[in-house]
């Protein structure tokens, strides 16, 4: 369920659009920010608060890649491996992370602290290779820089 404050925010957002459906993405963001992923309960809550069918919310969630459909680690590490990053060594960054975290791409560490995934171009081609953790962009990476970033994550 959404909190009273969240519902108030959703009501404000509804006024920005002709139809409440437009708030689905933002309501899903609110749910994911709080719970870390979008569960069936989350989709139901979004459907209910906006008065749209559950199947519609499900359809939207499954179209976009940024909603986690299952729990992920506390820090989701997304390594761009698209062309500009590939040309500047994203392979090394990804391999290094796999070794350091003892996981394959797509896996979560047993302590649930890190999930490692590959990402498509994140618009950071001039500072490649890069990775995104949460909202933060970490750019111009090498192995030492990756180690430093990992050690600073609580």
């Amino acid at each position: 369920m959404f909190s009273e404050q969240q519902v108030k925010r959703i009501e404000e957002l509804k006024a920005h659009y002709q139809h409440p459906k437009s708030v689905i993405l933002e309501a899903l963001w609110m749910w994911q920010d709080e719970h870390g992923w979008v569960s069936e309960e989350g989709m139901k809550a979004v459907a209910e608060v906006l008065g749209v069918p559950y199947h519609h919310v499900y359809g939207v969630v499954t179209f976009y890649t940024m909603y986690n459909r299952a729990p992920v680690g506390k820090h989701k590490i997304e390594v761009c491996t698209n062309i500009s990053c590939m040309l500047r060594g994203s392979d090394r960054v990804l391999e290094h992370l796999q070794k350091r975290l003892h996981v394959k791409t797509g896996e979560t560490t047993p302590d649930k602290k890190f999930t490692l995934v590959e990402a498509e171009c994140l618009g950071s081609c001039g500072t490649a290779p890069m990775m995104q953790i949460g909202d933060a962009y970490h750019e111009n990476l090498d192995e030492a820089k990756v180690d430093k970033i990992l050690s600073e994550l609580k």
Binding site: W29, G59, Y64, T65, I83, L87, R88
Partner: protein, 426 residues
């Protein structure tokens, strides 16, 4: 040329600094003009869209109906997801008020009272920066009701995406804004007739809109004299790959690609020679390194060279680059991002990727080169939106320009497998 889109002014993203340098004066100027006069000025300037298609901006605005009982909308496209493109993010970070002022002027010209800025979900950090700028503009009376006492009203809302390259396609963007799956729509009807919620809508790229206050500042005449005559103005060129100083550089249109690489981006890393260049983001056609002489970064210059400006995301590859790996990675991207609505794109991108994997692992047959080309040719032009074309063009051009690279990856005769048909379940 003095930078106009990204001027080197400390704290320019702050509204006080922006105002102290003449910021929001062009909004005042526009409000003193008739809306059609503003559109005419943009038409005369020769501004073309910076989102990839190079469509004349003023002409696009003039498609919006004058008499309608429906609300009209402006959607500003900040989805920026084309691999090799990272320019709009610079505007969000360093010059958000130029963008907001541009949105105000464009909205006034088209009689729009609600504008949306759609930004890719991964850019949440920059969404917060732009939201701060919007809040400051509202507080100063530049956005909202009765702006500067003119009677003109504009509400500007940021809309965060959630990870989908296709939502940078204008009709897909509108569906995403409506809270639907981001499937592109069949055109016609075009957005100016039937756009957001069936109402007249114009979609412009972030950088395009940021050019609008500059046009009013300089006057259309002076603006049209910047750079290439048929594609004038300042342009943000993103240089990535094997160069010493990758980054976004502002320059007039029409600068030779070799000058961009050597002068702006500091030359090729390690002093190597250039094997290939993708001039305008991953969907534009690849050029051979030795064929770059005289090719300029503008609509006509790149068209003559057999490619296009796209989003001016220049990707440089040195002589040691494995081009088969590059095209395989590009194709994997389009396969991943195909929305699945049209069969040729949904299936074809997967087939192309499967074929390219054979070249990557030296398991292809000689016939696979033409089979790959055949699949690409059957995607191109046969889909609702341009993603199909965007997936086909790199494959077609890599084969056309670098056929020898594919031939080198064919398996030795003895090791070659029997020719087979492609299965749909790649």
């Amino acid at each position: 040329m003095e930078p106009l889109l990204l001027p080197h002014i400390h704290n320019y993203h702050k509204i006080d600094v922006y105002e102290s340098r003449g910021g929001y004066q062009m909004l005042r100027k526009a409000l003193s003009m008739k809306p059609d006069e503003v559109t005419d000025e943009v038409k005369k300037s020769g501004l073309r869209g910076r989102g990839g298609a190079c469509f004349p901006t003023g002409l696009k605005w003039s498609f919006m109906p004058k008499q309608t009982d429906k609300p009209k909308y402006l959607c500003v496209n900040g989805d920026e997801s084309e691999p090799g493109t990272f320019k709009d993010r610079q505007i969000f970070e360093y010059n958000p008020h130029l963008l907001i002022e541009g949105i105000l002027i464009a909205s006034y010209a088209m009689g729009v009272h609600t504008a949306y800025l759609y930004v890719r979900g991964e850019y949440n950090h920059w969404i917060k920066l732009v939201q701060k700028a919007v809040d400051d503009a509202v507080a100063k009376g530049y956005l909202g009701q009765n702006i500067l006492g003119s009677g003109f009203t504009l509400n500007l809302y940021l809309h965060r995406g959630a990870g989908a390259y296709i939502c940078g396609e204008e009709s897909s963007l509108m569906n995403s804004l409506e809270g639907e799956r981001g499937y592109p729509r069949v055109k016609p009807p075009f957005p100016a007739q039937f756009g957001l919620w069936g109402c007249p809508t114009t979609i412009n790229n972030v950088e395009t809109i940021a050019n609008v206050p500059i046009i009013l500042q300089m006057g259309a005449e002076a603006y049209s004299k910047i750079g290439a005559p048929k594609h004038p103005g300042p342009i943000l060129v993103g240089v990535s790959g094997h160069v010493n100083k990758p980054g976004v550089y502002e320059m007039p249109t029409g600068v030779p690609l070799t000058e961009i690489i050597e002068k702006y981006a500091g030359g090729v890393t390690g002093g190597k020679t250039i094997k290939a260049v993708i001039p305008g983001g991953s969907s534009t056609m690849v050029l051979r390194g030795e064929a770059l002489a005289g090719v300029t970064m503008d609509f006509e210059g790149l068209k003559a060279a057999g490619s296009s400006v796209g989003t001016a995301g220049l990707i440089v590859m040195d002589d040691e680059t494995d081009l088969i790996r590059v095209i395989t990675r590009i194709t994997a991207f389009y396969h991943h991002e195909s929305c699945g609505q049209c069969t040729p794109c949904r299936e074809g991108t997967g087939w192309m990727h499967k074929l390219l994997k054979r070249f990557e692992t030296y398991e292809a047959t000689a016939e696979d080169i033409d089979l790959l080309l055949d699949v690409a040719n059957n995607i191109e032009g046969n889909t609702v939106c341009a993603l199909g074309d965007a997936a086909a063009w790199p494959v077609q051009s890599f084969i056309r320009q670098f056929r020898e690279e594919f031939e080198k990856r064919v398996a030795p005769r003895s090791a070659a497998r029997e020719p087979e048909t492609l299965s749909a379940t790649a």
